[in-house]
């Protein structure tokens, strides 16, 4: 076989036509642009925020599609094609160095986002995201509007819920420590409030709890648990000073519930996606022993002890 100009020309045309058909014509003619149930158009400010998102390369680290194998942010809603009808260019992304953001809207209140843009490590101590303080307040406002719109109608629902609970949380905070603790307490279901931490405090559990505290809590609640972490100036209501919990009947179950579930409306996120049982009990013990100075760990009522607990070194 020889590579004649004739063969090159006709062979080239044939292959090019087939490729054109499969890669361009078929997708173009069969594409469906039907919006999904959650879709809504973006406001002018959200569209501007999206441009800033593109211009700053956010998509190099953050994807915008949730897969059926994901456990992280947004895992409640797997991506559907109808979510992407207004995406020009699409921001699916090809690498995850930060979490997927396709359903980020309403996961956090605005003040958390402000702290996070200006100093990411203030709210996420082990984050490697660069600071975006240089964008200035106008652009950050637009970016935040875009971020809070991710997830469309479901994001709107979550953002409204954040605002609603923020007002109540602020009212409670402004009413003073006694009422604030009472309000926070009343938001925890009764069975959790009555539940002591079932596991004894050991030096090993405190060490593990300390590690979790440093990677997840220290930015807001501070190294001594007084709520004066580096994120404090941005957040209102401000992070809780744990010492005000002393003598106010905070159970291990209450701490566990608040860490697991977060306090929607405040900057306190839920940690149930990133910390599992052992880590939540351990960091709860750490906070109780180190900052509150009171712990109900391993007190009655409790069930049969877990097999690892030893009588000698295990009890406090």
């Amino acid at each position: 076989m020889n590579m004649t100009p004739r063969l090159l020309l006709f062979g080239g045309i044939i292959i090019f036509s087939v490729i054109l058909l499969i890669v361009v014509v078929l997708p173009w003619s069969t594409i469906s642009e039907k919006p999904s149930d959650i879709f809504r158009p973006r406001s002018a400010l959200e569209a501007k925020g999206r441009e800033i998102y593109v211009a700053n390369g956010c998509t190099y680290c953050h994807t915008q599609f949730v897969r059926n194998i994901d456990w992280d942010l947004g895992a409640e809603r797997i991506a559907r094609s109808g979510d992407y009808v207004a995406e020009q260019p699409h921001l699916l992304g090809s690498e995850r160095t930060g979490p997927d953001l396709s359903q980020e809207g309403g996961e956090h209140p605005d003040d958390w986002h402000l702290a996070h843009y200006i100093d990411p490590r203030s709210v996420r101590p082990e984050s490697i995201m660069p600071s975006f303080a240089y964008l200035g307040p106008e652009k950050i406002r637009a970016l935040m509007a875009y971020k809070q719109s991710l997830g469309f109608k479901e994001a709107d629902f979550r953002v409204n819920r954040q605002r609603e609970w923020k007002n109540k949380a602020i009212a409670a905070y402004d009413a003073g420590p006694e009422k604030n603790v009472g309000w926070i307490h009343s938001m925890v279901p009764e069975p959790w409030r009555a539940l002591p931490n079932p596991y004894p405090v050991t030096s090993a559990s405190l060490t593990r709890g300390h590690r979790i505290y440093q990677s997840h809590c220290i930015g807001c609640h501070g190294p001594i648990g007084d709520g004066m972490g580096v994120a404090q100036p941005y957040l209102y209501p401000p992070p809780l000073n744990f010492s005000i919990l002393r003598g106010r009947g905070i159970s291990g179950g209450t701490l566990y519930y608040q860490i697991m579930n977060g306090i929607t409306g405040t900057a306190m996120p839920y940690f149930k996606r990133e910390l599992e049982s052992e880590k939540i009990w351990d960091v709860g013990s750490y906070v109780a022993v180190t900052f509150i100075g009171q712990s109900d760990a391993h007190e009655a009522p409790r069930g049969i002890d877990a097999a690892y607990i030893s009588g000698a070194g295990g009890r406090k």
């Binding site: 080239g12 490729i19 599609f65 456990w71 699916l92 995850r96 160095t97 082990e126 996606r273």
Partner: protein, 243 residues
């Protein structure tokens, strides 16, 4: 690939093993390669038929790759020492080894079951670096070192510097590939077992420090290469007396 086809027979002093085989490679790469882009979107809500075409095309790439490499291997077999005397051909040989690696890895990682772990991780970054810098970069550099003296009539300024560049790039890229592959597997299996992206970050730190280190080797190699080429371009021609 055209550069490799041009340089390998000249540098090894033997004719191309088979012209027909090279044509099989030429036409099949044309057929398969344009379809495979959707393998980056297997886990997105893109149409399933497009994904199937992409996976088929990705696996089909084994045909052109095998024909090209078998063809060139049979052309240079037994003459590797001769081939490596020419520094340009030396780079091209390394580029072909990278090509073998990247093209065995590519079809493998286009499979959905593999992507459950590797997709969106540093594994893919490692893969694209051995494609661009390993395959295209090494062959491009080799072609440049091979052709430059023949076009300009000026000899290479320093063979030794070119060898230093070769080893800096080879060490840098091999290390780069290794640490990113490890980081990718750690990320991917962490995510799959339920750890969130944030929790996996501290696990990756050490690999990214190594990545930066290997990146320095690659950049140093590039700087040495630029110096070598510039000195060659402004050096004296063959047969002229050096001032």
């Amino acid at each position: 690939m055209g550069l490799a086809y041009y340089v390998v027979p000249i540098a090894s002093g033997a004719p191309l093993f088979s012209h027909a085989l090279s044509l099989v490679g030429f036409w099949t790469i044309l057929m398969f390669y344009p379809h495979i882009g959707t393998h980056h979107l297997l886990q997105t809500p893109a149409p399933t038929w497009l994904k199937m075409i992409a996976i088929t095309g990705s696996i089909g790439m084994l045909i052109p790759v095998t024909t090209v490499l078998v063809n060139l291997w049979l052309s240079m077999k037994g003459r590797l020492g001769h081939l490596h005397e020419e520094v340009g051909a030396k780079f091209i040989f390394a580029g072909l080894v990278w090509y073998l690696l990247v093209c065995l890895q590519g079809p493998f990682q286009s499979l959905p079951s593999v992507q459950r772990v590797t997709h969106l991780t540093n594994w893919v970054v490692a893969h694209s670096h051995i494609a661009v810098l390993g395959f295209s970069g090494f062959i491009g550099l080799g072609g440049m070192y091979f052709l430059l003296p023949r076009i300009t009539g000026r000899p290479l300024y320093s063979r030794k510097l070119a060898d230093v560049q070769y080893w800096l790039l080879l060490t840098g890229l091999t290390g780069f590939f290794a640490v990113l592959t490890m980081a990718g597997l750690i990320q991917g299996s962490g995510w799959l077992s339920g750890n969130v992206v944030y929790r996996m970050l501290p696990e990756l730190h050490v690999y990214w420090v190594w990545r930066a280190g290997f990146g320095v080797l690659i950049s140093a190699g590039a700087a040495i290469g630029v110096y070598n080429v510039v000195r060659s371009l402004y050096g004296s021609k063959l047969g002229e007396d050096r001032p």
